[in-house]
């Protein structure tokens, strides 16, 4: 399993919809089967392109683990140098609890727990946001999920999942359409709608599908903000392992001061 897959799918399957029919449920189950109990990514690259075409590159490591079914994710930045050590920790809160987000800024030597709307903000200035993923999760959890007519992407047959959040759920997007590869159960494309307008589009070339320890993941994803005309490409440079247990201190915010 990998960060890309986590970012795209991990949360999606954590809380499956109660509003899916049998065929839809089958697709969702297949997707969830791609999530390993834990994983470590050696390195990821986040290349963000702004409106003027300028690119900014962040490099770092992502650690993900599942604790009692709840996902914990740590993103630690290593490049550029002036951001070296900055860390972002997200811990899923589970039923009835809010997720915890912690931030560590080494220059200020401060760890701060962030509550509220930052989950909607760009993740470290990229086009990915924590809530983009959470929205998908919420859609799975609280919304109507249905299968549309299948189609193909790059000549690969894909399921088309429509996710419609329940009214008043606070979801940012009104609708999410996901194109799930029928062979691997990995989403090759997702469209995020605000009202009737397409706001963001997540896509991955089929040849970026990789397999490690029997789990499929994407090594190259592009998130494009259609309205803002910006994009971020996430590349997975290397996977360390997917089954080994990660030390719990990695997901302890106080450990940031110790420079782990």
């Amino acid at each position: 399993m990998n960060a890309g897959r986590w970012l795209c799918l991990g949360l999606l399957a954590a809380n499956l919809s109660a509003h899916a029919d049998a065929a839809t449920q089958k697709v969702l189950d297949c997707m969830r089967a791609n999530i390993p109990p834990s994983l470590q990514i050696k390195e990821v690259e986040l290349a963000s392109v702004d409106r003027s075409g300028a690119e900014r590159l962040l490099k770092g490591k992502v650690y993900v683990s599942r604790d009692s079914g709840l996902i914990r994710v740590l993103l630690r930045i290593s490049k550029p140098n002036d951001l070296d050590g900055a860390a972002y920790l997200m811990r899923e809160g589970g039923a009835g609890k809010k997720d915890d987000i912690f931030l560590y800024l080494p220059a200020l030597q401060r760890v701060r727990k962030i509550s509220g709307g930052s989950a909607d903000a760009p993740l470290l200035g990229t086009d990915f946001s924590y809530n983009d993923m959470k929205q998908l999760q919420a859609a799975f959890g609280d919304s109507q999920t249905s299968l549309d007519k299948p189609t193909t992407i790059e000549q690969r047959p894909v399921h088309v999942l429509q996710l419609q959040p329940a009214a008043g759920s606070g979801a940012r997007y009104s609708r999410v359409r996901t194109y799930v590869d029928q062979k691997t159960c990995v989403a090759l494309k997702a469209e995020f709608f605000e009202g009737n307008s397409l706001r963001k589009e997540l896509s991955a070339p089929a040849d970026s599908l990789k397999r490690a320890d029997g789990y499929w993941y994407l090594s190259d994803l592009l998130m494009r903000d259609v309205k803002e005309n910006t994009s971020t490409r996430l590349k997975v440079v290397g996977v360390v392992g997917s089954e080994q247990e990660l030390p719990s201190r990695l997901f302890d915010p106080t450990s940031f001061y110790r420079g782990n």
Partner: protein
């Protein structure tokens, strides 16, 4: 075949002309309207950017801001709640409204109490939820919001009015939302319906560049829709009343309508958009065109009474000869007036110049070619005399007497008007109102003013800060400089609010340090700055600093309007910006800035344009009248209305703005028509009659009526702009009509007064004059002259035609005229004892009557023996020739002496 002959021959084939014009008009219509979609192909662009060059620095900065930050001037929705915004119910409404606004088409972001994070630090935890979220979670917290917002430089006077009654929603829209789309989507209606649906609001106001542009676009559109048919209607009535011929009026209107179609088609072909300036072109073309047609109709109906029994073709030829000189000169000078605007740096003005010139050429050509053909084809042959002919005739008599009697006073008064006008003009200031261009009771202005009052300004200006290199704006020293510049901006009386990334950086730094006041500042370490900015990164932050931290913007809200106040602020602010440390620079942009720069560029370019127009028209008139003196005299009457126009602006305190600065050139180009028509007629009559005073009378009698009608037509046409919704358009119409009225008075007084001592020779005459083959070789008096000089001499004299059997000179008379036989034959005879003795028979080149020139009585009679053409001149003609063309006069005097000497020699030889 000369031009007039060609025009005459064209008029003799009306069907061919009508067919050609019909084809061209169909093509023009297809260019104007897409037959498939049935939509017009021309565009109306009401933006100030449309006035500026594509490579204008301000425009480039705006493009860079849009490209980098994805922002334009935001749409501001201000919703008033009673008694205050600060209640859980109203904050909940604000949250719902923000969500609804976000769903509006092309809205990319909504900045409001529901989306702006209210950073709250508590121990190691930072709450970054919005005001509305916090209110929903903890209703008691609402009581603290007013104080928090007042203390927050990002939100103070931005999210909520200082009195707490009005909440603002800044809607960022994508570039795809144009004024046209804004109207088509009923954006304003959607916003108001959303507010109504959510309820609780006391009032709602919507303003910003987009609604103002949409309103301007609508006003321009309605102005065009109103002025074009209104000008047609007003002038149709005038033509009907004047010529009492529905067919003639319809023909004239059709000719002008076709010219209008061709003009708009040209705009489509050349890619010229209709903007605040070029929107004037259609009514202008109609007005000018109809004034031209009045001259043609006057000549057409005159031909009916003068030549009642000739064929249509002959009549068309006569009409052409009568009006072509004046009409061609008029069109040429008008076009020169417009083309002088090509010097203006603004492409919008140059586009106007091109379109107006083309329109004038089209109406000129159609008046020359199409209208006579149409009149002949339709058999437009009203025989009743035109209305008020007698009244105008009587008036012309009185005017002639007045002009000749008070000649010096008229010239003196005109000189005083020029001096006084330009003195008064020194008080003119450049400047244009923006929102005040609309009436006080228009919704767009009321909305703007309501928002401006609630939030201390509604004119947005963006300052682009460029650090020249990535991460430059994470350098604390440079950020401090930007902060200091922003503080200076806030201290300016014109600035209602100024916000930038520095505010956000300082606030975030404060919150990350548990609200310790010491940390409300810029961190001393660049890495800390970068990490804070990264932590704070959001779509909102991306709109004020780019992700490379190389460029940023300071958003200003100005509480002043109009180019004068904004221009004054910009000059001060730019001087202060120049003090920023290297490598930072700051450049100002935004719609208000571009509009201000456009107005200043217009005001700066107008004097050069007027000067060029005056010089060009003077040069053209000098060329056409083949004399610099005549050209200058013809130009002077047109300087008077220009001086009066600028004097009026100075006296009434009317500033030079994009439209008023165009009037001088437009009026100069049009007003010179009257001068040219008078002088062309005067020239022909003076040559025919041999007396300038008589020619003034007959020329005034001939042109007073058409010139007056054309002026009435032009003035009414321009006064139609009084129906526009935009003040500047109304101002344009009123001032143009006033200046043309002044030009008419001047042309009916000063021009005849100056012309009464002037014998002019037009280039037209020069080209048309036929003196036979090589006159300088076959006519001894013209020996040594060039063809042009020979013709000039002939035109300064009088060319007379006489049938056979006419007595030219009577023996014994006292007369000082000299005659030269151009062609035909005459014989000199004396009568002695009732016997008629033939002394000689004279043919081409012979000179006779020179004895009379030297004061003697006629020594013989001269009679024509065949149809002859004679050049006749006297001592006054020769004196005028000496003054105007001394080298020609010297040659003629030498030839005259030689002829005299030869004659004396022959006489001496006979006596021997």
């Amino acid at each position: 075949m000369n031009t007039v002959a060609w025009l005459g021959s064209v008029a003799q084939h009306p069907r061919r002309v009508l067919l050609a014009v019909a084809l061209a008009t169909i093509i023009g219509l297809l260019l104007c309207i897409d037959p498939v979609t049935r939509t017009v192909r021309f565009h109306i662009d009401p933006s100030a950017e449309a006035l500026l060059p594509v490579d204008d620095p301000g425009r480039a900065v705006l493009d860079q801001v849009r490209r980098t930050f994805g922002i334009d001037d935001p749409l501001i929705v201000a919703v008033r709640f009673e008694p205050s915004v600060y209640s859980t119910e109203n904050l909940e409404r604000i949250a719902r409204l923000s969500a609804q606004f976000k769903q509006l088409p092309e809205v990319s972001e909504v900045f409001s109490l529901a989306t702006a994070p209210n950073l709250l630090a508590s121990g190691d935890e930072i709450d970054v939820t919005s005001f509305t979220d916090q209110a929903a979670r903890d209703p008691a917290s609402v009581q603290t919001f007013a104080a928090q917002i007042l203390a927050n430089p990002l939100y103070r006077s931005t999210l909520v009015s200082d009195d707490g009654t009005t909440a603002a929603f800044a809607l960022s829209t994508t570039a795809a939302l144009t004024p046209k789309q804004y109207v088509a989507l009923d954006f304003d209606g959607q916003v108001r319906r959303a507010v109504q649906e959510v309820g609780g609001a006391d009032a709602v106001y919507l303003t910003g560049t987009l609604p103002v542009r949409a309103a301007t676009s609508g006003a321009l559109d309605r102005t065009l829709r109103f002025t074009v048919p209104a000008v047609f209607a007003v002038i149709a009535v005038l033509l009907l009343v004047t010529f009492r011929s529905p067919m003639a009026a319809a023909s004239a209107l059709l000719a002008v309508a076709i010219a209008l179609i061709w003009t708009v088609a040209s705009a489509v072909l050349l890619g010229i958009e209709f903007n605040l300036v070029s929107a004037i072109v259609p009514p202008l073309v109609i007005t000018i065109g109809l004034s031209y047609t009045i001259h043609l109709l006057a000549a057409h109906f005159l031909s009916r009474s003068v030549l009642p029994d000739v064929r249509d073709a002959q009549r068309a030829d006569w009409v052409m000869k009568r009006i072509s000189t004046g009409l061609t000169l008029s069109a040429t000078t008008t076009v020169i007036g417009f083309l002088s605007l090509l010097l203006n740096p603004l492409p919008a003005v140059r586009g106007f110049a091109v379109l107006a010139s083309l329109g004038t050429l089209y109406v000129g050509a159609l008046t020359h070619l199409f209208l006579p053909a149409l009149l002949n084809a339709t058999g437009c042959n009203r025989e009743t005399p035109p209305i008020a002919t007698r009244v105008f005739g009587r008036f012309a008599e009185l005017l002639t007497g007045f002009d000749l009697r008070w000649r010096r006073w008229i010239i003196g008064a005109s000189a005083l008007l020029i001096v006084g006008g330009f003195i008064s003009a020194s008080r003119i200031e450049g400047g244009a109102d923006f929102i005040n261009s609309f009436d006080e009771d228009t919704p767009v202005r009321q909305n703007f003013e309501a928002v401006a009052n609630a939030f201390n300004g509604a004119n947005f200006v963006t300052v682009l800060i460029d650090g020249k290199a990535p991460d430059a704006l994470t350098n604390p020293a440079l950020i401090d400089a930007v902060d200091s510049f922003q503080d200076w901006l806030r201290a300016q009386p014109e600035v209602g609010a100024a916000v930038s990334f520095v505010d956000q950086l300082k606030l975030t730094n404060l919150v990350l340090h548990n609200n310790e006041p010491l940390y409300f500042g810029v961190p001393a370490d660049g890495a800390a700055v970068k990490q804070i900015l990264l932590f704070a990164s959001s779509e909102a932050l991306n709109r004020v600093i780019d992700p490379q931290y190389r460029t940023a913007v300071i958003s200003l809200r100005l509480n002043v309007d109009g180019s004068t106040a904004i221009g004054a602020f910009l000059r001060r602010a730019e001087a202060r910006a120049a003090e920023l440390p290297s490598p930072i620079d700051a450049r100002f942009t935004g719609s208000a800035v571009l509009a201000t720069r456009a107005v200043e560029a217009l005001a700066g370019g107008h004097l050069a344009s007027i000067a060029i127009a005056v010089v060009a028209i003077g040069a053209l008139l000098s060329l056409m009248f083949t004399s610099i003196k005549a050209g200058l005299i013809a130009t002077v009457p047109n300087i008077v209305p220009i001086a009066v126009y600028f004097g009026t602006l100075g006296a009434l305190g009317i500033p030079l703005n994009p439209t008023t600065s165009l009037i001088a050139c437009i009026v100069l180009g049009i007003a010179v028509n009257d001068t040219v028509h008078f002088l062309a007629r005067f020239n022909a009559d003076a040559r025919e009659q041999g007396t300038e005073a008589g020619a003034v009378r007959s020329a005034l009698g001939s042109v007073l009526r058409p010139i007056t009608l054309a002026t009435v037509c032009l003035c009414l046409g321009f006064l139609v702009f009084a129906g526009s919704e935009l003040n500047n358009q109304r101002q344009f119409g009123g001032l143009a009509a006033w200046t043309l009225f002044v030009a008419w008075i001047v042309d009916m007084t000063l021009t005849p007064a100056l012309g009464s001592r002037l014998r002019i020779v037009t280039l037209w005459d020069l080209l048309r004059l036929d003196l036979g083959k090589s006159p300088q070789h076959t006519i001894p008096l013209l020996s040594g002259l060039s063809m042009r000089q020979a013709r000039l001499f002939a035109l300064m004299s009088r060319l007379e035609k006489h049938p056979a059997g006419t007595r030219i000179i009577q023996e014994g008379d006292l007369s000082r005229d000299i005659y030269v036989v151009v062609d035909g034959a005459v014989e000199a005879t004396i009568e002695r004892n009732e016997e008629r003795l033939v002394l000689s028979t004279m043919t081409r080149g012979a000179v006779m009557g020179e004895a009379g020139y030297f004061g003697q009585r006629r020594t013989a009679s001269v009679d024509t023996t065949s149809p002859v053409r004679l050049l006749r001149f006297n001592s006054q003609d020769l004196e005028r020739l000496r003054e105007r063309y001394p080298s020609i006069a010297a040659t003629v005097f030498r030839n005259l002496n030689r002829i005299q000497a030869e004659r004396i020699a022959r006489m001496t030889a006979l006596l021997r």
